[in-house]
Amino acid sequence: MDDRIEPWGTTLFDGRAARRGFALNKMCFSFNDAANRDEFRRDEDAYCRRYGLDERQRAAVRDRDVLAMLEAGGNIYYLAKLAGIFGLGVQDIGAQQTGMSVDAFRARLLGAGG
């Protein structure tokens, strides 16, 4: 195996991603606090601007587009806190990223025991 190349569909959250995504992840970190989640709900874009998200990151949040958020430096553990506001769990997020329905994604997971 070439140790320098990630498998298909896989990127490491490394220093480059951490720098690119700092503002986005910092905003998501604020969602540990219920008052901040409420404030985000009241005016999403204003909240994003306050944390200094760039246009690409704001668009990804607006579109609930997890792959675009990852490309913009989002870390999945922080994005999970944002997804929680939208009522989405890890299987909803998995389905979205793989282009499958949630039922199909769950069925694929169930098949992993075979």
Binding site: G15, A80, G94, Q97
Partner: protein, 280 residues
Amino acid sequence: MARIIGGIGTSHIPAIGLAMARHQCADPYWKDFFDAYAPVRRWLADARPTVAVVVYNDHGLNFFLDKMPAFAIGAAPEYRNTDEGWGLPTLASFPGDAELSWHLIEALAAADFDLTTCQEMLVDHGFVVPMQLLWPNTSDWPVRTIPIHVNTVQHPLPSPARCLRFGETLGRAIEAWPRDERVLVLGTGGLSHQLDGRRAGFINKPFDLYCLDKIVHQPEQLASLTIRELVAQAGTQGPELIQWLVMRGALGAHVRQLQRNYHVPVSNTGSGLLLLEKAA
């Protein structure tokens, strides 16, 4: 003198805590997973540990990416759990043992493992879900706890080899503590899973079973893997195996396997359970 009585490897995913909060443990999806913990709880009732050293990774509750330690240890009289943002109920605080923490900090530093020391430390699902699995339905935890965080969030991560060595040093440090304590070491997380990217949902059962085999008597073979190999074989979150390697290292060269289970899927993961007793 303090004695390590055993080690447990277990999953720590939030879905387990949510299932417990929603009383779904007997549902068909969850029953086999939770049933496997019954013998472990019986062993705990007999073994009566007084201290649990819990090796896990924080997922964005105590540490943000502004400061991300590779290895961090709690040195507080108690550890609070709090809101992580997506609905896991908050559990009762966990008693600490700051004197033992500082002994470990000193002993590990003397052996060239320099830890970030935390006199305040919030503990997230990575810590609380295993505690809840071992001692369900209580707010009166029967052990004092020492949280140890190993970074698996932001690369570069500590290598598997370093984590095994860290565990070995931790084990010696625990057993150099002059008080009579019965210490349990928990390695938490894993096994294979990938939450992010187009390969999301990736689970590798053969590799998980290989890891459960090797970690008992040949942990060096797992320690020879690189983090990138772990990502390839076990998914982006698969490197959590390093938390298990710390636990395994702490038990020393010789162990007896008392309990082992593998269940797939548990939410998006392949889930391992291992109970090891330290052998003479």
